[in-house]
């Protein structure tokens, strides 16, 4: 049981004319070591939700528990919680500020109070893990392309070695190869090192292919919560709120409609291939 949100509501600019109820009584549990996909229409409250998980936003009402302790209780150490729950923001490239990439990645570990040597070791490891080309390590971060900056920013959070890693649309604007590479890396971290991953994405294929569980947000509420298979099985309802199913699901539906004997609750390419092979007996 790592993160529990208990009846959390959040209202922006409370008490003024432009008050927004961004979260409305959200209760959610994120288990240790799981890979959670968070989907939802634009403005449904995903970014607001994840900022509650590392104490950047305070709930208007309700509690957030990390390993059983209320993170907003008196005397709680928010800096420690932020070091355990790493958050990579939407468009994280805007957080880069140092003179070179390597020093920038050292910023997080240094804030943890690590020595220079340790911080550099962490930065080295994180950049390696992000597969960031060595010849660019000492370049100014402002001379990088958008996707390269994104990797550096993610490395900056990875270098803090969090127990939970939350990424807010990390794949937006990456090319298909870069996207796969990033998601495979996250899956690897989860599988091999037991990291808990929360991934916000607008891409159903990514959630279907990588997440153990999918949570759908709609108008500040949890609309669905289950395995990707359970959630995407109800894709008619998802379509009504402006989302949909992974593209393979639609392909399978078309095949079934055309008279092939295939299952339609298929979420990823491998299962689809198996199903089609089975049907064609090859």
């Amino acid at each position: 049981m790592s993160i529990i949100l208990n009846h959390v509501s959040h209202i922006y600019s409370e008490g003024t004319a432009d008050e927004v109820r961004a979260l409305d009584d959200v209760s959610l549990e994120i288990a240790d070591g799981e890979f959670l996909g968070l989907i939802g229409h634009t403005g449904s409250g995903k970014s607001t939700l994840v900022q509650h998980m590392n104490a950047l936003l305070k709930p208007t009402s309700g509690q957030v528990l990390y390993n059983g302790e209320d993170i907003w209780a008196k005397g709680s150490d928010k800096a420690r919680i932020r070091s355990k729950v790493g958050l990579v923001f939407q468009y994280p490239e805007y957080q880069l500020f140092e003179t070179d990439v390597f020093t920038d990645v050292c910023f997080g570990p240094k804030n943890l109070g690590l020595s220079r040597v340790e911080a550099e070791a962490r930065a080295y490891e994180a950049l390696e893990r992000m597969n960031f080309p060595k010849e660019r390590w000492y370049m100014s971060p402002f001379d990088l392309s958008g996707g390269q900056k994104r990797r550096v920013a993610i490395a900056g959070v990875l270098a803090m070695k969090p127990e939970v890693l939350i990424l807010d649309e990390p794949t937006a604007g990456l090319d298909p190869y870069g996207r796969r590479e990033l998601l495979d890396m996250l899956k690897g971290l989860q599988r091999d090192e037991g990291l808990t991953v929360v991934l916000i994405s607008h891409c159903m294929d990514d959630v279907a292919g990588y997440a153990d569980r999918a949570v759908v947000m709609e108008k500040g509420k949890v609309f669905m919560n289950g395995t990707p298979a359970e959630v995407f099985f109800r894709h008619r309802e998802l379509e009504e709120i402006g989302l949909g199913a992974p593209s393979v699901t639609y392909i399978m539906e078309k095949l079934a409609a055309a008279g092939f004997d295939v299952k339609t609750d298929v979420m990823n390419v491998e299962d689809a291939a198996k199903e089609i092979r089975g049907c064609l007996r090859i």
């Binding site: 922006y12 600019s13 003024t16 004319a17 900022q51 590392n54 950047l56 800096a79 932020r82 070091s83 790493g86 958050l87 990579v88 923001f89 994280p92 805007y94 957080q95 880069l96 500020f97 910023f107 997080g108 804030n111 943890l112 402002f142 900056g156 959070v157 803090m160």
Partner: protein, 262 residues
């Protein structure tokens, strides 16, 4: 946290004051300020109070909003009143050690306090009932004659409205960058002055980078739309005087005349 700070404190309402032409309000405020400084007896001050009360009543802005701005100047007000009471030379009516209160001091302190309060609440009436953008428009239109002596009025007005537009954007951006750095363990609250000043670097650098990027994007977008300065340019919403404005001007002039005569 930064979104809550509103600039120019415009208060949306449907009132006579809101519907006046921004030029009328700008000129009116200007005349009002001059009148406040001409006024130096009780009768003239009373006239100013009456004028202000009418304006407030017509604006339909709750009085509490009017006086919110007063909090910010409370200290200045207190200091100036104090200095005036104790440091004006004249006939002492009360002494205590080196401090002495004079009749002239009391009188000038009272007037000064009155003036400051009237000044702030009067200008608030204008900023509460006029959006910053229409104020810029008014300023541009009123200063237009200066183009004859080569003052780039249009460009100045454009710069002002762009700056106004960008303030909330940059505030939001600051908020985002701060949160992102906090997520990386940055601490902006503890430590001595030097340490805190240093902790601003991770915010300021990305903020400036993004401000420059936005500025150059905007310049590019304007150029792509063939934007070319003030010459021969027409407005989407040209400023137009209505009947209310004529009445307002007459009242204003009457007020200034009254203050001079009283």
């Amino acid at each position: 946290m930064f979104k809550d700070i509103t600039l120019g404190q415009f208060y949306q309402a449907d009132s006579v004051m809101h519907s006046l032409d921004p030029r009328t309000k700008l000129v009116g405020t200007f005349l009002y300020i001059i009148a406040l400084f001409i006024a130096n007896d009780a009768a003239a001050m009373a006239a100013a109070v009456v004028f202000l009360c009418i304006a407030i009543a017509l604006s339909r802005v709750p009085a509490s909003f009017m006086f919110r701005g007063m909090k910010g100047i409370a200290l200045i007000l207190l200091l100036t009143v104090g200095f005036n009471i104790f440091l004006t030379p004249g006939v002492p009516i009360w002494t205590w050690g080196p401090l002495k209160v004079t009749a002239e001091g009391l009188r000038s302190a009272a007037f000064l306090a009155c003036r400051l309060v009237l000044l702030i609440s009067g200008t608030s009436v204008m900023t509460l009932t006029t959006t910053p953008n229409s104020l810029t428009d008014a300023m541009e239109s009123l200063l237009l004659p200066l183009t004859h002596i080569k003052v780039p009025v249009h460009e100045i007005a454009l710069m002002m409205s762009i700056a106004l537009r960008f303030i909330p954007i940059l505030m939001e951006e600051t908020d985002k960058i701060m949160k992102a750095q906090m997520a990386r363990g940055a601490d902006f609250e503890s430590g001595n002055f030097m340490k805190r000043a240093k902790s601003m670097v991770p915010i300021l650098v990305p903020l400036f980078v993004s401000a420059f990027r936005r500025a150059s994007d905007l310049a590019m977008a304007m150029e792509a739309r063939c934007y070319s300065g003030g010459e021969g340019r027409t407005k989407l919403k040209p400023l137009k005087y209505g009947r209310g404005d004529v009445v307002a001007y007459i009242v204003q002039i009457a007020f200034v005349a009254a203050v001079i005569l009283l």
